[in-house]
Amino acid sequence: MSTSLDTTEFVVRSIAQTCVDNEKYFGDLDSVVGDGDFGYSLARGFEQVIAHWDEYDREDSGTFLLKIALVISSRIGGTSGPIWGTAFMRAGTALKGIDSVSGADVVAALRTSIEGIKKRGNSDVGDKTLLDALVPAIDALEASVLQGDSGGLSMQKLAAAARTAAEATSSLKALRGRASYSGDRSIGSPDAGAVAVAVLAEQLAEAWKS
């Protein structure tokens, strides 16, 4: 698996479109034990990403991602703005200057994104956040890349791992973010951010086929 600017654009576009399409669903997930604005926040940011699609500097994948990170930081509020902005910023920084991005580059970039989220959110796997879907998903992606799977197969493994891990957050008690105020009441429903990661990965895997 090797990734060019085209592929990066394709991935970002899929993420953006899926966030816009799932505004209501993501919001409803966040209103179970959160404050219901997660879907709205993402949609408002990613609809800007789409609106200005042709304007971003496309020197390389990294530069492109850094521009996207800027839009996210300036348009998405709540916890999601800093978290998602940091993730895109870190990935962009990692890939900047690389013309033909390898699968290993992608995995390495996503690892720095994860570290950025952990630092920004003072959080870790097990706290019932999007990290609980993202980390297992990247683990699966890495294993698949190391195995030499095709891009499509890697995507499917990524999506399957994200979905399983997202569902599993139901049994966790929220220790970070607004859901943590619910204490034990947060147990029994999945984390909104984690489910969003699963949905994004599944959409991506689906789109990759065509």
Binding site: G36, D37, R44, S74, G77, G78, G81, P82
Partner: protein, 331 residues
């Protein structure tokens, strides 16, 4: 959902425009950053005070911008911390040579946005300090690692540092005052109904006809427990039993007592609660030195109220008594 709105996405900007049109002499509106700021800010002789937080808590904080209070407020959308850029741009725009004080209610999203904005502004040469406000006793520090939430008590921090800044206090002094006021301020709230965010269009949670949420957060977050409705006397007792031992407030103390409406509760009920709380405090040997009854920090249209106590000393009392001029007014 029946509200006075056009498009849920324009709810916040249209409200902000209304505030600006109603206060043409004193306030300015910068649509790009949801920013409402004093027409005379920044001033070289006064530390600039900025508060962000999500919208939906009005009058906090866009309607408490003015002389003796905030220099600017740059809210996010309903219940969403402002994007980092709003805070960064606001800080740069209103930066004073005496520095900038950022007031932040203690929530994950708000902390992140203000932290990032502080870092970036400092890199640009602005002197910035940040104060976190966390007065909500319903969240136990020990069990919840995010820490206590900032709720209606933020009014007192804002008022005290606002008054001191107007008198020329420097940034260190403001941080000292703000931390001191926050450290003696305790709040807890009760929801009778859920609120309906415009973009969601339906109530954020379900409360049965005879249920209330004790210790509710101002974004509709759950509190200590869901209980059956009970008479006002009992509810005030529940609030005082949580708040008084927390600091603790002791017999002989002099306090400010605030009954804050959460948005959908009429002022008649708030004064009824005030009377009960006043008498119950006197019965505990605590004197009410200043009182506040009305809406200070709301949760959209939620029916409910919170009770705040601030332990007074001469310094705090003088700062609270100082005059101020904000959009929220009667005449």
């Amino acid at each position: 959902m029946k509200k006075f709105i056009n498009d849920p996405q324009q709810f916040v900007p249209e409200m902000l425009k209304g505030i600006a049109l109603a206060n043409p002499d004193t306030l300015r509106y910068v649509p790009e950053y949801n920013l409402i700021h004093r027409a005379d800010s920044p001033r070289p002789d006064k530390v600039t005070i900025i508060q962000g937080s999500g919208s939906g808590h009005e009058p906090a904080h866009v309607m408490t911008v003015g002389k003796g209070m905030l220099d600017g407020a740059c809210p996010g959308d309903v219940f969403a911390a402002p994007p980092m850029d709003y805070v960064y741009a606001t800080t740069k725009l209103l930066a004073s040579p005496k520095g900038v004080l950022l007031l932040v209610n203690n929530y994950t999203g708000d902390r992140m946005a203000f932290d990032m904005a502080q870092e970036m502004s400092e890199a640009d040469g602005v002197t910035v300090r940040t104060l976190f406000i966390d007065d909500d006793v319903s969240v136990k520090d020990s069990t919840y690692t995010v820490g206590r939430r900032g709720v209606a008590g933020n009014f007192f921090v804002m008022k005290a540092v606002g008054a001191a800044a107007e008198d020329g206090a420097d940034l260190d002094e403001l941080v000292r005052i703000g931390e001191k006021v926050n450290s003696v301020t305790r709040t807890m709230g009760i929801a009778l109904t859920a609120c309906t965010p415009p973009s969601k269009g339906s109530p954020l949670f379900d409360l049965a006809d005879d249920e209330i949420e004790i210790g509710v957060g101002i974004h509709g977050e759950p509190g200590r427990e869901r209980a059956k409705w009970s008479p006002a006397n009992d509810l005030v007792e529940v609030l005082l039993d949580a708040i008084v031992p927390d600091l603790p407030f002791a017999p002989g103390d002099r306090v400010a007592l605030m009954i804050n409406g959460l948005g959908g509760t009429p002022i008649s009920e708030l004064y009824l609660l005030y009377g009960i709380a006043h008498e119950k405090l006197e019965a505990r040997g605590i004197t009410v030195g200043r009182n506040y009854v009305g809406e200070y920090c709301t949760s959209l249209d939620m029916a409910g109220a919170s009770l705040t106590l601030v332990k007074l000393d001469d310094e705090i009392e003088a700062l609270l008594a100082a005059p101020a001029e904000v959009a929220i007014r009667v005449f």
